[in-house]
Amino acid sequence: MTQAPPHGFWQRMQQIPRYYIYALLAGVVIWQLLFPIRLPIAPSRATLGVRDAIRNVPEDKIVIISVDWDASTQPETGPQTQAIIEACFQLKKRFAIMNLAAPMGVKLANDIALRVARRYNAKYGVDWCNWGYKVGQGNFLMAVAKNIPKAVATDFYNKPVSELPMMRGVENISSIGLVVEVTGLAGMTELWLGLIQGPYGTPFASAYTAVMAPGYYPYLDSGQMKGMLVGAKGAAEMETLVNRPGSAVAIMNVQSWAHLLIIVLIVIGNVAYFMGRRRPGEGRR
């Protein structure tokens, strides 16, 4: 049965073709990318928690940055990883990148670390290293807790990790001062919390894509997590904290305007729905 063409202003408002909405959204995004109107970014408590957790890592311990993300979430997780690496270099904390799932992330994070390391004159193997992608997930974590050189064996460049200067004295989980999980995958945090943070008390912080972050607030509230970066917003806040506004700050600025457009569209849709209902025979189907 063919649908009758919309008549009346409010009914037309309820049936805006989706192409117009796509075009409007693209228009707002392009406008704000080319001619940005900057909005303030204030770091939240969850973001401050991540920065403080990195700051509180003792000198003799290292940070693990588990980068379980790939190209499909890069606009959020890429800047998060970069901001965390910036914080580690600024606060002079040695770190190891590793990956339990989505192995593309370990290459993408390696590129980010190489780029950032140049700015701080940081050396691979001395200030940071990359353990590469490791299979086994939970089993691998249990092995890491007991014997890191044996469990990790070789790094991203296929060199034995025990030969890296920064790995001297890094024996087991007691040598780890903080784990930061950057991910767009559900299930990874549960592994870290259940097998490492819970049994050994290793501090844990995280960075998630915005879509999965709400499910992890209870862990923040219970104190199992020291802090959490939420999507591009968390990355932008972290970039602001480390004084390196980059792609996340640019994205968040555009994002705020895009959200404004969506809010306006939701209001129009709802007002149109209720106005349509008020006129018998027009709004109801």
Binding site: L33, G138, A153, G198, P218, G231, K233
Partner: protein, 246 residues
């Protein structure tokens, strides 16, 4: 067509062709162009389902699967299995893939019990790991749900009281929504029904917040791609775009 539009279109085509010619000379730019074409190809789905979008989708899935295979070999099997077996003469490692290949006996009716052996091993290991993981993961949340409703005076005391009361009310009402043993009849049942209704409202608010975050995530990805198209790709042959503050 309007002559001004002709001039504008010709100018745009000339600019893109200039970029393409430059890309042909510089292999680094090939990557940019491949990324831009793949992005635009995938976005054709916004118009309707079409073979171009499907083509690029399949390329992405294929690339990811291929990369996983290479990464599994390069970061794990080569160093931990192949090298010890070949160079350190740990010949017994040859039995590891033999055990792995037992999975394929699932296709044989007569010998499928061999596949069940390794599956049982995996189920047992998985269950054991989950059991070990469960209590350290969830027990701290159980303790954290016991919040003082009359906390000692401190800075931000009113906010703490409000937070704790709200937490406990939401926790109890949402739990009551999932309590199915008592029908919502009689005095106690009706009160439970009211609490469950309130719990449902709280859950709806939470789902709204989650949906808001989903919108935020999707738009972030879209902005990321637009930034790539404008700054990295178009910016490679229109310098003005490369120098915009994005």
């Amino acid at each position: 067509m309007n002559p001004q539009l002709w001039i504008l279109s010709a100018g745009a085509i000339a600019t893109v062709l200039r970029g393409l010619t430059a890309a042909l000379r510089d292999p680094q730019l090939w990557i940019l162009w491949a990324g831009a074409i793949a992005t635009l190809g995938v976005y054709t789905i916004l118009y309707r389902e079409n073979p171009v979008s499907r083509f690029f989708e399949h390329i992405f899935v294929g690339l990811s699967a291929g990369y996983l295979l290479v990464a599994t070999w390069a970061f794990n099997l080569e160093g931990r299995w192949w090298d010890p077996m070949i160079h350190e003469r740990r010949w017994y490692w040859i039995f590891a893939p033999v055990v792995g290949f037992l999975f394929y006996f699932i296709y044989s009716r007569r010998l499928s019990w061999l596949a069940r052996l390794v599956m049982g091993l995996f189920f047992g290991a998985g269950a054991g790991t989950f059991f070990r993981e469960f209590f350290p993961l969830y027990s701290p949340q159980l303790y954290a749900s016991f919040k003082p409703l009359r906390p000692d005076a401190q800075v931000g005391w009113a906010a703490v009281i409000l937070h704790n009361w709200l937490f406990v009310i939401v926790l109890l009402t949402v739990l009551s929504y999932f309590f199915f043993a008592l029908p919502h009849e009689g005095r106690a049942g009706r009160n439970l029904g009211r609490a469950a209704l309130l719990g449902r409202w709280f859950m709806m608010i939470a789902f709204g917040a989650m949906f808001g975050n989903t919108v935020m995530a999707r738009i972030s990805l879209f902005i990321g791609r637009m930034r790539f198209l404008l700054k990295d790709w178009l910016g490679s042959f229109i310098p003005w775009l490369a120098h915009r503050g994005m």
